[in-house]
Amino acid sequence: MVAQNIFFYVIAAVMVAAALVVVTNRNVVRSALALIVVFAGVAAQFIILAAEFVAVTQVLVYIGAIMVLMLFGIMLTRSRIGRDGDMTNDHWWVGVVTAVLLVGIMGYALIDYFGDDALPVDRQAATVDGSNTSTVSDAIFGQYLIPFEVISVLLLAALVGAIVIARKDR
């Protein structure tokens, strides 16, 4: 259990540092690359939480697809690649105040309510053969079949909508 704690804190520190780079760096591409580090760290945390299927999906969808889209967006909008004067607007201190207040309130509420509640040692929900992937699929194609189909239609609509919005001839 101690090894898990060390793993957690090292990954968490890297994630928070990379997230700060994402929101403060002046170089857009460097922000995007730091965001990849955050996504990989989130995937590692999912593995600590014994959700390996979600972790693999995170790597495939976020690092594989969404980051490529983001880099395409940076490239196509020619967002002054390389160093840039200011990527932060004049009222950035509003953001600092909001974020600090929010983290204070949420941190107080979480520590007050959950305190030292420990996660169960065996975190694999209803495992079959040491993996919870089949449990996930049972839930998606059983109890949550209708939301799953709605998500499919939403993805199709988003795909068509993105093409219609972004195409040149109209």
């Binding site: 994402v22 922000s31 979600v54 969404i66 967006g73 990527m87 983290v103 929900a125 988003a158």
Partner: protein, 102 residues
Amino acid sequence: MDDLLINQFLLLGAILFCIGVYGVIARKNTVLVLMSIELILNAVNINLLAFGAMNNDITGAVFALFIIAVAAAEVGVGLAMVLIIYRNRASVDLDEIDSMRG
């Protein structure tokens, strides 16, 4: 300090969420604002899976998967909109997109 606490994950999620909120408020470039929104969505996913692990329930993982799918759709449409704004105004600076100002 032997067991993993639920609060470790929840506080990590809260910190990531607030960093994302700061990015949404403070950044000028529209693509960077979209990246900050991705940070917020990831923080929510950590929370969902932490609660799922606490209650030994698979629902958290299922909803995290749904959020990943919705995030993919959101990024696709969002970047298409950023692209058309860039094409029309030759800028992705949020301070210059002020045609709604009264």
